[in-house]
Amino acid sequence: MIIPLNYSFRNLWTRRLTTFLTAGGIALVIFVFSAVLMLANGLEKTLVGTGSDKNAIVLRKGAQSEFMSMLDRNAINIIQSQPEIAADPEGKRLAASEVVVLINLPKRGTNKPSHVQIRGVAPESLTMRPQVTLTAGRRWREGLSEVIVGREVAERFQGGGLGETIRFGMRDWTVVGVFEAEGAGFESEIWVDAEQLVQAFRRPVFSSITMQLSGAGDFASLKSRLEADPRLTVEVEREKQFYAKQSEMMATFIRVLGIFVTVIFSLGAMIGAMITMYASVANRTTEIGTMRALGFPRRSILGAFLFESLLLAAIGGGVGILLASFLQFFTVSTTNFATFSELAFRFILSPSIVIESLIFSLAMGFFGGFLPAVSASRRKIVEAFRAS
């Protein structure tokens, strides 16, 4: 009953130029579509990867980001004395009060200034974030104006390289180390000793406290106790969730806008596929009539042309995904809406993006090929012969 798939395949090959132009249109749409999904995915991976499941973060109630949060010394003392906080092997409690400030730095190449987040950290900050590793240089020394910078800052901002100096807080700071954080958002930050930062900015308050919890059930008790404490107005969140929330709005924005745009593009590609398939049906009127005369039922003809269109779309989809996969070698940066600072991230392909893109391309093939395939199968045999 089934007309061999080979038949559809060879027909596409016979009209290779048309096939590749049409598949090219579909490939472009799929390229944009998967690029958008990869972008949103990369953004999420970057921000979600910033947090750890073991850690909790405390901010002032209602603060959307660390930058907008303030905790005074008094609050810090109360929070740091909570029993849920884990200790390292030497018995030091793993809680770090951190300060976040934004500065403007000119970018390499363009000289255009952009916001960079500086994080004043404690020694425990590094212990609690094992993904942060120095790849060059060393840590800052206490009491000196020294900083370590994330890889993205070192690459993208003037003065960010190892041994160079960055000016902020009316001081020159020497970059003594460069770190990586497995692609997490920290790689877009400058880290410095919190005490030095507080002095330089004459800012007697901290932004947040990040703490490692000893047990799995500790989070709930810590959260309810701190949030109920009348001396404090704070909010306690898991660190991972805190960063995931930051990515949510932007990732959704990218997805919605991107999908809206590609769906409109796809109409063009679909019409392209339709024109190609109509032409192909018209060219093969006699062939269709012959197959029908030989006894092939209408649905076989419908199936053969629909399959041809799906094959065309799958080729386009495959090429589009392949092209998009090369985007993984690129890094893009944007202002993180939640922190107002520049955040660098990558296009990241995932199996679900591949599947979604393929489904999307097949849908274009199906809707583009359906009407031509129906018209092919509806042709009366005698009329098909008379037409030639």
Binding site: M1, A293, P297
Partner: protein, 226 residues
């Protein structure tokens, strides 16, 4: 006497153009016994192709009764008719109508896809049919790599591969030079004489008509006595 293979009773065919009814075939009554080799002749537009299409079950009459190979075609649905064609009719066309993207062997194999034969059996049957038409050495050639006469022989192999009782041919030599035409007519003659195929052939070529056992002339949609 055995039932005739083809029986037409009062068959008419007309086309409607706007409100005008254009008669193409008028009250045709005829019988064709099994094993006949019939040539249909007549001027252009006389309705030869139309009559052939009705007999082959790819068109339906506007009136009358058509019985072919024991089946009354008027009672069949579209799908049943398609199945019936695949078992009963072998088609031979003026322009061969081979699928250009398939090889000779694949073209011949095509009608067998509608049978329950295995792939291996299909290949075997197709190869036998190609050998019978003298093209055993051309099985993997594509139609455009063959001469017109060879293409028509592939088409004949395709028409006989399912072993149908009736072959219909619409001007099978119409596009061929004299030598090739002669070869094709020899082949059709053999299929009729040795393999007992009933053949109905439309032709303009008197040399081709000579090879038939019987010639019927059609003019303006009706049989004429010569």
């Amino acid at each position: 006497m055995a039932d005739p293979l083809i029986e037409l009773v009062d068959v008419s065919k007309s086309y409607r153009r706007d409100t005008l009814e254009i008669p193409v075939l008028q009250n045709i009554t005829m019988t064709v016994p099994e094993g006949e080799f019939l040539a249909l002749m007549g001027p252009s537009g006389s309705g030869k192709t139309t009559l052939l299409n009705l007999i082959a079950g790819i068109d339906r009459p506007t009136g009358g009764i058509l019985r072919v190979a024991g089946t009354e075609l008027g009672g069949l649905s579209e799908t049943e008719l398609a199945q019936w064609r695949s078992r009963t009719i072998g088609f031979i066309f003026q322009f061969y109508n081979l699928l250009p993207v398939l090889t000779a062997l694949e073209n011949v194999e095509l009608p067998l896809l509608l049978t329950p034969l295995s792939k291996h059996e299909r290949r075997e049957h197709a190869a036998v049919a190609l050998e019978l038409v003298g093209l055993a050495d051309r099985v993997h050639h594509y139609p455009k790599q063959l001469s017109g006469g060879q293409e028509q022989r592939v088409a004949i192999a395709r028409a006989i591969v399912t072993d149908p009782p009736l072959l219909v041919a619409d001007e099978p030599t119409g596009d061929l030079d004299r030598t090739s035409a002669q070869e094709i007519m020899n082949l059709l003659g053999r299929l009729n004489a040795e393999y007992g195929k009933t053949i109905v052939m439309v032709t303009h070529d008197p040399r081709a008509a000579e090879r038939a056992r019987k010639v019927i002339h059609l003019d303006k949609g009706a049989f004429v006595q010569m």
